[in-house]
């Protein structure tokens, strides 16, 4: 039996070989030191790289300049904005924003740290920081003034490259005039409505059509026919009315799309061939938050865009069918409508992610280009994209050839029934794309509270396309 060890057997001595416990002491200390030093280096990295952000948050630094694609000034933090000609910023106030902190979800608001005239080595100074954007101020102004007294929003991008070319939201604050009394401003002056969900109206039929194509195939859907007598009674005895009181009779898909026939699409949704789960699946791929499920919000150079949302519970129920027609609880931002149009226009079902900042010049004058943010996930298949493109192009050719003039477009119109602050009104929408080589533009146009005889979405689109025609040479 081994002898029991006692304390005296281990009386410590000056021992260069260092007993285990002592070696452990050295290792533990080394470990702690190494961890702390690594943390310290990481801290230094974070502090240096985030310091422009800290400075921007503190309001203790000056800011640089934001330019459009041709060098026109959209924001200038180096001198008073009132020194610019009147109306210089009237159309971009709620898109580009300013450094006051009142408009957080704007380009400047979200990129204060990139626009701060500051760096860690030199501290605060009058540097040369600037952001160059893809926006066409010329097109923006043209659309803004074309809207006249009407309110609304217009957004357009190059569907080949993702460059955001135009983004107007009216009413719009004029940052050059200042806005000390926010309560006196017209409602929604400080936010760009292109980034916020709205009732899409019949532009939603594009999404529903995409779901049908995805599940049933293009030829099967194109061969479908449904009858419209003006009012269609669903399986639960609820009425879906058509805007054409006499009805459209028996129609093919192309005819129904052209007529924007509600009963046709309601019957498509209720059809046993198209399970609601398939619609939900396609909607989800397109970025909708369906029945409260989480959907990723989008970002445009830091500007946050809320995802589309809808409630689809029973294919035989009015609310679900109404939602698939773009009314009721369905909400989509014009930005997202434009994004889907990009995926249709390029015929792949996937879009180039839009971006607004094309390059940055830092405080030392060093220029660095910003490239496309890459592609979105696939919304639907290329086959579906091409089929929708054909239907929309046919729609534009037969319905809008006069209004849109020389442009080869594909469009879908919509009329959204909106109720806000106890007041009911209708918004007019047009989402689509232009396939011309000189004008590869996807767009969404919204005119609020439009009534007959006033400016149409097609006329506004024509103004937009005229301003953007030959856009690739406007650099």
């Amino acid at each position: 039996m081994a002898k029991q060890k006692t304390d005296s057997d281990y009386t410590p001595q000056l021992d260069v070989s260092a007993p285990r416990s002592m070696r452990v002491a050295g290792r533990v200390t080394s470990l702690l030191l190494a961890a702390f030093l690594i943390g310290l280096f990481y801290l230094a990295y974070v502090l240096v790289s985030h310091s422009p952000f800290y400075m921007s948050k503190s309001g203790a630094t000056g800011y640089g300049t934001v330019y459009d694609r041709t060098g026109d000034v959209l924001f200038d933090g180096t001198k008073p904005l009132s020194s610019y000609p009147a109306g210089q910023f009237a159309d971009v106030g709620n898109l580009i924003g300013d450094a006051s902190g009142q408009m957080a979800n704007t380009l400047v608001g979200r990129n204060l740290s990139r626009l701060a005239n500051y760096n860690f080595l030199y501290g605060k100074e009058q540097g040369q920081v600037s952001l160059h954007t893809t926006l066409s101020h010329k097109a923006n102004k043209a659309v803004y003034w074309k809207l006249g007294k009407k309110n609304g929003t217009v957004i357009a991008c190059n569907w080949k490259t993702g460059e955001l070319l135009c983004c107007v939201s009216k009413p719009c604050v004029d940052i050059a005039k200042g806005y000390d009394n926010i309560d006196a401003l017209p409602e929604n002056s400080l936010l760009c409505k292109a980034f916020y969900p709205t009732v899409p109206g019949s532009t939603q039929k594009v999404s529903t059509l995409a779901a049908a194509y995805e599940k049933l195939g293009v030829s099967a859907v194109n061969q479908m026919q449904f009858s419209c007598t003006g009012t269609w009674i669903n399986a639960k005895g609820q009425a879906i009315k058509c805007h054409e009181a006499k009805g459209h009779g028996t129609q093919t898909l192309t005819q129904a799309f052209r007529n924007s026939c509600n009963p046709f699409f309601a019957q498509l949704v209720q059809s046993a061939k198209l399970p609601l789960s398939a619609v939900i699946e396609t909607y989800t791929r397109m970025g909708y938050s369906v029945n409260g499920a989480k959907a990723d919000s989008m970002s445009l150079d830091g500007i946050t865009i809320a995802p589309a949302s809808t409630t689809l519970t029973d294919a035989k129920d009015f609310d679900t069918q109404w939602g698939c027609l773009g009314q009721g609880t369905t909400l989509v931002s014009p930005y997202q409508l434009m994004l889907w149009e990009c995926a249709i226009a390029n015929g792949t079902g996937t879009a180039q992610k839009p971006y607004l900042i094309s390059s940055r010049t830092d405080v030392d004058g060093k220029y660095s280009p910003v490239h496309s943010a890459g592609k979105t996930d696939g919304f639907f298949s290329a086959e579906t994209a091409k089929a929708i493109q054909a239907v929309m192009t046919e729609n534009a050719r037969t319905q809008y050839s006069y209004s849109l003039g020389k442009y080869t477009c594909g469009v879908k119109s919509g009329t959204a029934q909106v109720e806000q602050n106890g007041k009911a009104y209708e918004n007019s929408l047009l989402a689509g794309f232009c396939l011309d080589e000189k004008c590869p533009v996807a767009f969404c146009v919204v005119i609020e509270e439009r009534v007959n005889g006033e400016l149409t979405t097609a006329q506004l689109t024509k103004t937009l396309l005229d301003a953007l025609s030959g856009i690739n040479s406007q650099k």
Binding site: Y10, A25, V28, T29, A44, G123
Partner: protein, 421 residues
Amino acid sequence: MKKSLSHPFLLLLILIAHAAMLLLVVFSFGLTPDAVELASAVLLFDFIGFIFLQFVHREACTVDSVLLLVLGMSTIYQSCFGGLTFAKKHFIFAVAAFVICQFTYLLVRNPYRAEKMKPLWYLMFIGLVGAIFFLTGSRGIWIDLGFITLQPSEFVKPVFVLICASSIRTQLHKHTLLGFHYVPDNLALLACTAVIAGLQWYCRDLGSLPTFVAAAGCGLMLRFRYLREKISLRLVIFLCLCVCGTAAAAWHLAPAYVQERLHSDIWADMSGSGYQQVKALTAIAEGGWFGKGAGSGTLIHVAASRTDIVFSAICEEWGLFTGLMTVILVLFLPASLLAVPPRSYYHSGLAVGVAAVFMVQMTLNVFGSCNLIPFTGVTIPFISQGGSSMLSSGILAGFLKAAQAPVLTGGNTAAETEGGR
């Protein structure tokens, strides 16, 4: 004993560092009475410290040298925040910390004698805990003596480190109860840790709890490794699960004010709960690499700028580079034991305990004020203002110095008894 030639050289380095900083102060403020007072105090302290080291006793000079350097820098920093005013009180406590470091060294440099004083450490622990419980009042952590306020919890730290270190060699004395083997001293250490946790919970000041937990963890690790070739995988897994379980429980059971700090977004509440950190980060950004200049900082107007967010205050005036170098310099204290390893189990425990306390405190202060971890409000040893913290840190530095001293046996150093090895 081999006569070292490094003392004058070390003093020269310390003098150059302090003189350079003082020149910058004079450059910023001119030769004002405060500047003269500050320069005289710091340089005189350097000379007296050098004479003490050179002629009184020369053992373990690394700790003393670093301490002299850090204390002088600390006095200069504290005198310059927001404008030049000689921080007399801070300087007095700095000197006191240096002196108490020497006394502590003398007390524990003989590990056998110090280990025999274990009952005294436990008595001191009970006394300090009692003082916190009964004398602070209203679940606070301060004792107001009228002319001075003391924070007894700061003095618990060195006593706790002594307790952690004092029972490593008792690991063979296992007892058995209901089939379980246990070492009474280990249970006593766990009980002390639990008492501290309970007390801090009671006082609503959990900020320094990680410091104690780290010291206890290191102490237990050394005890487990005593005479063992390897720690079994089962034990490692068990310990990891215990740590994770405790951390998870603490995370969920933490009181509301702690939960708020754990989940707060300082940028969402810049004028409320995130105010100090936002100001601290902005100050660092404004300071850049080389600072705004001594006395040019504005962080002084923010609460706790001399204590909890002192790292940012230094960075604002002297620059991030100097701030980082200062922190690394304080690290030299525990790191010195890598160059001169402890020569007894007891001193190993002391050294690791002090290293854990210093590094966890600096982690909580520096990373917390910079928003990388929840902000707790603890001090940086020797740099932050505060007499209790300074004296407590001085005692801990004394432990480190003792850990580098040759082991004493019967009044002679082991080095002497073993032929000067």
